[in-house]
C-alpha cells in the first residue's frame, strides 16, 4: 500500500499531500505522522495542501486530529497552501478547522512554527 512520505527537517516534519487520498491512506498518514512526532520529538508539523483541489469532511477531520494529537505531544501543526475554491467550499460545508493554524505557503508556515502558539 502506498503511503504519503513525511520529510524531516530538523525538528520539523513536512508532509506534502499531492494525491487524491482514499480514506485508508488518510488514516495511515495520520498514524504515520503521530508516530514520527513521537519518535523524533518533532516540535512542528507542516501540512502542505497546495496541490489539493478538494478537501472534504474526512480529510478535514484528519487534519484537526493530527493537530490535536500533535499538541498533546507538544508539536504545533500548521496547514499551508489551501486553494481559494477549497477554502470557500469548506466554509460553506461548515467544517471547523478551529485550533489549526494556517499559512499561505511552506516558507510562511515555517516562520509561524517558530512563533509560540497562542493558548487555545
Amino acid at each position: 500500500m502506498d503511503r504519503i512520505p513525511i520529510l524531516q527537517m530538523g525538528d520539523l516534519l513536512l508532509v506534502t499531500i499531492q494525491v487524491d487520498m482514499h480514506d485508508q491512506l488518510a488514516l495511515t498518514l495520520q498514524d504515520d505522522l503521530t508516530d514520527r512526532i513521537q519518535r523524533t520529538s518533532a516540535r512542528g508539523v507542516l501540512i502542505d495542501i497546495s496541490a489539493l483541489d478538494i478537501v472534504d469532511s474526512f480529510i478535514g477531520r484528519m487534519i484537526s486530529t493530527i493537530s490535536a494529537l500533535g499538541r498533546i505531544m507538544d508539536a504545533s501543526t500548521v496547514l499551508v497552501g489551501m486553494q481559494p475554491a477549497v477554502a470557500i467550499t469548506l466554509v460553506e460545508l461548515g467544517l471547523d478547522l478551529r485550533g489549526v493554524r494556517t499559512a499561505l505557503n511552506v516558507e510562511r508556515g515555517m516562520k509561524l512554527l517558530q512563533q509560540p502558539e497562542a493558548s487555545p
Binding site: M21, D53, D56, F58, T89, L93
Partner: protein, 133 residues
C-alpha cells in the same frame, strides 16, 4: 459530451475517490465554474462515503438534467442500507448517532442547489442533488 447519464458503483472506499474524479470530469465538461465544481465534487465525496460506510455500499447515478432552458448536473446516491429514521436530526450539523453521519449530509446540502433525502428504516437511502450550470 455525448452521454447524458451513467452510473458507477460506490461499494468500497476506493470508489469514493473514483466518484470524486468522475464528478470532477462531469463538472468540468459541463462548464461549471471552479468554485461550483469544487462544491459539487465535495458534496459527492460526502454522499458517496455515506453510501459506502453507512449504506453498506450502493451506487451513484449521474444525469445531465434540463428544466426548460436550464441545465444542471444531477447526482443520485442510492444504497440498500438501514435507512434513516429521523430526517430532521440527520440534517442537523454534527449529528452523530451510532451510525455517525456527522457533517456529510447537512454539509452537502449547503453546497448544492437542490437536495432531496428519501430514506426510511429498512428501505435504504436515496439522496438526490442538483447543481445548476
Amino acid at each position: 459530451m455525448t452521454e447524458c447519464s451513467g452510473s458507477i458503483p460506490v461499494r468500497v472506499e476506493q470508489d469514493v475517490v473514483l466518484a470524486r474524479q468522475a464528478v470532477r470530469q462531469l463538472a468540468v465538461a459541463s462548464g461549471l465554474r471552479l468554485v461550483d465544481q469544487t462544491k459539487l465534487v465535495t458534496a459527492a465525496s460526502e454522499l458517496a462515503r455515506n453510501a459506502v460506510i453507512y449504506g453498506g455500499g450502493g451506487e451513484m447515478r449521474w444525469t445531465i438534467v434540463e428544466r426548460g432552458v436550464r441545465k444542471g448536473i444531477q447526482l443520485i446516491f442510492a444504497d440498500q442500507g438501514p435507512g434513516i429514521a429521523d430526517h430532521a436530526r440527520a440534517l442537523t450539523d454534527g449529528w452523530s448517532s451510532g451510525t455517525g453521519m456527522g457533517l456529510g449530509l447537512s454539509g452537502s446540502r449547503r453546497l448544492v442547489d437542490e437536495f432531496e433525502l428519501d430514506s426510511a428504516p429498512g428501505e435504504g437511502t436515496r439522496v438526490t442533488i442538483v447543481k445548476w450550470i
